[in-house]
Amino acid sequence: MDLAVTSAIAVDALVKRYKGVTAVDGISFRLKAGSIIGLLGGNGAGKTTTIAMIMGLVMPTSGTVMVLGARMPKERYRVLHRMNFESPYVDMPMRLTVRQNLSVFAQLYGVPDIDGRIANLAAELNLSEFLDRPTGKLSAGQKTRVSLAKALLNHPEVLLLDEPTASLDPDTADWVRARLERYRSEHGATILLASHNMTEVERLCERVIIMKKGRIEDDDTPQHLLSRYGRETLEQVFLDVARGRSQHSEVAP
């Protein structure tokens, strides 16, 4: 069977240009089902545009994106109910309570037993005490947990996370990572995680794709990257890639 169809996400020669500016420049990768992959890159590297094309929100200039066997964005309605996402670029309506927001999205995703699902998520993500509070009255950490609850409402097979722990304190960020790890191990979901947080990527991801200026600069497991660049942390590897240093022989002291 075609590898693009069997992979959870298959990206081939993907290009996105905005009025002469190339945001994504011919990238290709495949994510096997049940894997958790980090997408690293500095500001403007093309991570968010890549994720937006995978979600079907942005039309590629050329190349293809397949998610769960459906071509995006053309066939997105075949698979959108099996996907979900969390992004700092979106919010949930502030005046609605957490329960109202979650129940609206649960209905949009066709979740059966909405009340039961919300109760389960509330217990799992410690939301119970503020379920009936307006979403706009929550702290940043609480809002992130609500966004995560929304992202998990439909038991997604593919979960796209754009900087899921940005602006969180270390304790809450660690708590979110633990929940993501648990969700992946319990449900076998495929998670693509765009992040600036190297600790997060090192802890969660079995494979790391590093982007720079719209291109994939490197793609390997964290251990192999550390070994090839002769570094002790992914942050050092990231800086090597960002500053154009090549592997091992040219590393900075």
Binding site: A52, M92, Q107
Partner: protein
């Protein structure tokens, strides 16, 4: 995994989810509800008293009682219908929620259906009390128009939805830069559709433009009913035909603007 069947084709369930979302928002804020009634009431009272004054000094207006009040109430159906549609859409952009919706299984046609329903809900909240005020203050009973009122309403609400759909497309494509259009576009219809005066008042060449707009037929029909006591079914059918054309153009424009928004990447960053 959930919802596979519900995600194929048009889903009433998803439309009702969106209606619920807008209803939660509306009922969470009493200023929002007050705003639906406040301006239509002020308009109706102002035009009602003006008509009262003019009718006491003019034989023609004495016979044509209710023309101004009728016009202002029907104009509000057109104007508030579009505004109700567009404001609900704008709420998604203010809340930065559009990305969540576009990434969900909700289809654009389902979102539009929810916006249509909410425009009627908002109209009902605003217009029913104001129409009762018109009876109390001026003895003008809009509801006594019966079937004619239904024909007027259908044609006006169809136009308001068509304009609302077009504006939603502009907002998707251009983000909040197009917000002003949502609030003001309908005012272009105010002079051209001859809300307060007959089409014959317009310069000859402009009358062609007026007759290409469905609400013109409604306002002419209203004057025929209130002044000549004749229901002009022919005008209503012509309005309906032009509404079908307008609706088709607006839907086509919306789909093109949505496709363009996907190319430009403005769906995720709609607040720009």
């Amino acid at each position: 995994m959930t919802g596979s069947d519900a995600s194929i084709g048009f889903s009433v369930n998803r439309v009702s989810a969106m209606v619920r979302r807008y209803w939660y928002l509306l009922r969470s804020s009493w200023p929002r509800i007050l705003d639906l009634i406040y301006w239509p009431a002020v308009q109706m009272l102002m035009w009602g008293f003006l008509q009262l004054y003019v009718s006491q000094n003019s034989g023609f207006f004495a016979q044509a009682s209710g023309v101004f009040i009728g016009a202002v109430l029907l104009w509000d159906i057109l104007f508030r219908g579009q505004l109700g549609f567009s404001i609900c859409f704008l709420e998604e952009m203010y809340a930065r929620n559009l990305g969540n919706l576009m990434m969900s299984p909700l289809r654009p046609i389902e979102l539009i259906a929810a916006l249509m329903i909410m425009s009627i809900v908002r109209l009902a909240i605003g217009m029913v009390p104001v129409s009762l005020l018109a009876i109390a203050f001026f003895g003008f009973n809009l509801w006594s128009l019966g079937f004619a009122l239904a024909a007027f309403f259908v044609n006006l609400i169809l136009t308001s939805w068509a304009v609302g759909i077009f504006v939603a497309g502009l907002l998707l494509r251009n983000g909040m830069g197009a917000e002003g259009m949502a609030w003001t576009i309908m005012f272009l219809f105010l002079p051209l559709t001859c809300v307060y005066y007959p089409v014959g008042v317009l310069p000859h060449w402009l009358q062609y433009v007026a007759w290409a707009l469905p609400p013109t037929y409604v306002f002419e029909g209203m004057r025929a009913l209130l002044i000549d006591h004749v229901f002009r079914a022919d005008l209503m059918l012509e309005a309906l035909a032009f509404n079908v054309i307008l609706f088709a153009i607006a839907s086509f424009a919306f789909l093109k603007l949505l496709a363009s928004a996907r190319v430009q990447g403005s769906l995720l960053q709609g607040a720009d």
